[in-house]
Amino acid sequence: MEVHSRDYRDRARRIITETPEVRESVTAATRTFVDNRREAFADLDEAALSGWAKEVKSHALTHLADYLEEAETRLVERGAHVHWAETASDVHRIFERIVEENAVRKVVKAKSMLSEELALNPFLESCGVEVFETDLGEYIIQLLGEPPSHIVGPSIHKSLEDTRVIFHERLGTARDASPEDLAAAARDFLRETFLTADLGVSGGNFLVAETGSIALIENEGNIRLSTSVPRIHVALVGIEKVLPRWADLSTFLQVTAKSATGQPVGCFVSIIQGPGGSAAGEPDGPEELHVILVDNGRTRVLADPEIWEALRCVRCGACLNICPVYRQTGGHAYGYVYSGPLGGILNPGLVGLEETLPLPFASTACGACADVCPVRIPIPELLHVWRRRAVERGLTGSEERTALGLFASAATRSRLFGWAENLAGVLPDWVIRRLPMLREWSDGREPPRATGPTFRELWDEGIE
């Protein structure tokens, strides 16, 4: 996927000013998620769960190669094809071969953020393949030609009215169709598509090393169908998705669903561990199963001693939902697959700090995300690591560096500091409008008033 993160500020401004309804949709939906999440954990020892989940994921990541090979062995034993892909073009080549060998014309896709990273849909289309997203939210934004705005609720930025309009145009539903009617129309269309597709593509929430099992969480049944109806199935699994033991899975399924939507567990959980009819005793499923283990920047993150913890992420989206910055714009402002606090820590690692520069700064460091992360990623701290590196690499601009340098010099000389403070309190409007930083402040806010004496002066006069 192309990276547009450098335009964060412009994109955010346009969303806020030109499509104010996005802010309302995103805020309403994320607040519901947050409320549901709180309720889901109300009777549980959340700290114990997140502490345990953190340790399991950290262990898996620090023994990654071993567990991946174990998973591969189990999958191959059951007749699956396992591919290792370092980059998006590696993945593309694997798909190219599968498409050619099997004369694939139609693909159904379950929601996969990794496939967004890999720009899989445009690639398959360039091979002459029709691609249909089957998650309802993904289907809506595919019709609209937009990328997902949230890793769990891809069309979170759209209102019911937006969906009515596009479904009316494309599927011929009534202009005032109810949500039930809209879902039924999508179901009718997609059911036919599932039955005629040659190939299904999914992601993978977890990959259990011990048993070679890919676990997928969903609510609509579309993943169950995408992974079982077409003759061939391809699962794209990020290498960080590994869990060591089968016994780890049930807790992770619950923790993820609770954190994401507040559900006790997803409505459907699909476990894939081999093609159907295989000797290993999988009665159902596709004739051919391909599992692509994808790196795409993850080993680089893993090798980074200050950032590797970001790979614990289970993609629940809780940090997006609680983030007051994310809520104002939704995900499109962030210009890459991952948005919100997650985007701020992961995108620079996956595609480079230079390409994603403003994202670690697109946060007030309020810390709300750290409180809800089910695998305890120290998000504010990782954001700070990227900020520090941006400054060290001279990416934040000489203006800011000069201003803070001057500030720090003044701050170690109290008389100079007092003098500067006094000056700051009495700057006339026309100066404020011309000075960097103060100008941005006064665009939307009145400058602070400071006409009276400073505390220093009050103290010297004597406080009664």
């Binding site: 007051p324 910055v325 560096r401 806010r445």
Partner: protein, 285 residues
Amino acid sequence: MAPQSQGTGHPCYAYGGGLSTARRHFEKPAQLGWEHHAARQLPGHCTSLGPMRVSLFVTCLGDRFFANAAADAVRLLRSLDIDVDFPPNQTCCGQPAWNSGHVPEALQMATHTAAVFAKADYVVLPSGSCTAMLRCTYPRLLESPALAERSYELAEFVVDVLGVTELGDGLAGRRIAYHHGCHALREIGVKEQPLRLLESAGATVVPWEMDEECCGFGGLFAVKAPEVSVAMADRKLDTLPDVETVVSADGGCLLQLDGRARRRGKPVRFRPLASLLWEARLGSA
């Protein structure tokens, strides 16, 4: 409350925070009256049992924009029999530099601040955010917990150190909303202390669905992403209950919310906690 390392976790979690800290304060046994403070354990280097001595760290925003509130903090502490001292060389804690990734500059300011307050028994700040900087960031920046262990936000100091939970009844009949600054709330776990002092003085703290959501200030964030920052302030203002006054322990948040409210012509007053606490106290006279 000694700082402790906790692996690679958020440094501030070493101090507890959020719910667990809030719960701890709830479960505290009935507090001793403030006059018993001399019997409480004093910092190790403090040799006499005379009146408690506190050094005020007014903070840069406090000095320039909330001078009267800082003076009210002095009045409040004196009324509680505390000797208040104001080391004149103090400036800024360095948080703006730290948060924006300028670590050497932050270190410079932290070193300066630590030297200024080296002899203080207690450092009290009328600011949750700057207290969080001293308590959560200084230990690793300066590789010393010395200042962290002695630094308190004003309401936290009054309630947790002095053991005072009732200042007076000077706020009887007042309806206010309280904005919890993010760092006060999540880094140093100050939540119940200010509410307790306000409510025990007769104020009604009106429920505000967004009282724990960030106001959008965030230091340089306010100027790096001004449109988002303003939208965040708007969300706070648009959900505000019907009150005349919004109170907060954090100057940055107050400037942000007040600046936006004035631009929109919204008639709400944004006032620093220190002033309200002094008004609470005045009612006891």
